[in-house]
Assembly symmetry: C2
Homo-oligomer: 256 residues x 2
């Protein structure tokens, strides 16, 4: 048995990388829907439709027991639909990230950043409040973060200016913890930490490790690693050495 | 008879707006494939496939005699395929823009900016060289321009910095003319002109007016204007008042 991971594109490779490092012998099949990325600006109906197709590809083609939805937008909108349709474990990024944030906050004030769709869905607000109802939450959509990462502009003045554009206001709310609610954002962690050194940054991909441990899966497999994309992707070529050990991607065709 | 216009998203509304202003009585049906935008980072095969579906939607649903491909990426990759499949006039943005640029350049040095896919396709280079073989061309992909426009950051320091990031180098080549090879870019025209006041800026949407005139279409129709989108679009809500007279979009479902 193995794990299937999907994301709207290549951002979920930050999750893939974290899991790879923690469980080096685990078998993993990654799918990036690069023919239709990004999901973050699409409607709920469209995100659910695309996400079910991605999950279907993983279940139909590989002997997996667990799907990891390594995309905050898909986790926000589609996870219940995936759980209902497929008889495997389904782990998203929203709940693990919310648990982690509540463990580390000391003043009960949490900031959440993500795509427009993730913020609009209110999924982190719901997940956080379900665990601790009196938590204070501020959300900000940061739509320029993904292109900054995919264009390798992380170490430029542009990234500095864009980070401050989105986060300066949020930091005045007194939040001591910041959830990176998009799988691309861990690559901006150092820029965020440079300007706001006191904030505790929560990266959901690390929180997923605990979920995998709780499932008590057999993680001693054959270190099989495959990456499938629905279209060629310049962003993948840019990021594959950093996040995927330079692996070559295969073409995936999804059923409508 | 009427005109059908399509684009990968909402950038083609700059073309829609220019045509609307020149031919106020023309009937026009606009389709934006907002469920799969952007095309600019996708492969040739995928762009052709999506473009044929868009053209098919316009031909199947409306009594049109002309399709305007208001997307540089689709014009670069798919226009011959659309011409072969559908028996209507097909106007892209690459050839009209190239003609205009060659009319205005005085030193025969032209810069072209666009998405990664448009630049990679070399379509402007081919079109320009086909008309004047000794023209000198420099191309630069500017992937951050589209999100800057869609996030309404045009009047910020971020836009200034990003414009200079992409264009400072190109301007050292001595080009006196710059083709805006992406339909979003006209909204950055003022920022570009601020930093490079001597460059002649070519906006393909204006060049299309001459093509429509040459076809000698009946442009005195009923001023019917419709906008269809394949998904809800925050970018459309942001830009509709500037580019589409505040019109409400309808939902389009494309055949695979």
């Amino acid at each position: 048995m193995a794990i299937g991971i999907f994301d709207s594109g290549v951002g979920g490779l930050t999750v893939y990388k974290t899991i790879s490092e923690h469980f080096p012998e685990l078998d993993m099949h990654y799918l990036g829907d690069t023919a239709r990325v990004p999901y973050g600006s699409r409607s709920q109906e469209t995100v659910i439709n695309y996400s079910l197709q991605c999950a279907g590809f993983l279940v139909d083609n590989f002997d997996i027991d667990t799907i990891i939805v390594a995309c905050n937008t898909a986790s926000s909108y589609a996870i219940d639909h995936i759980r209902k349709k497929f008889k495997v474990n389904v782990i998203g990024v929203v709940e693990p990230g919310s648990y982690s944030a509540l463990q580390v906050t000391e003043n009960n004030k949490i900031g959440v950043i993500g795509t427009r769709a993730t913020v609009r869905s209110g999924s982190y607000v719901k997940a956080l409040k379900a665990i601790r109802s009196d938590v204070e939450i501020t959300q900000t959509a940061c739509p320029l973060f993904v292109p900054i990462v995919e264009e390798m502009l992380v170490d430029t003045d542009i990234a500095d200016m864009v980070v401050r554009h989105y986060l300066d206001n949020m930091m005045t709310t007194g939040a001591d913890t910041l959830i990176l609610g998009c799988t691309h954002y861990p690559l901006l962690k150092n820029v965020i930490a440079k300007f706001y050194p006191d904030i505790k940054i929560v990266d959901s991909s690390e929180a997923i490790i605990d979920c995998i441990n709780e499932l008590k899966l057999n993680v001693n497999q054959h270190s099989k690693r495959e990456i499938y994309l629905t279209d060629e992707s310049p962003a993948f070529e840019t990021l594959k050495n950093i996040l995927a050990g330079g692996i070559t991607a295969k073409k995936a065709v999804l059923k409508p």
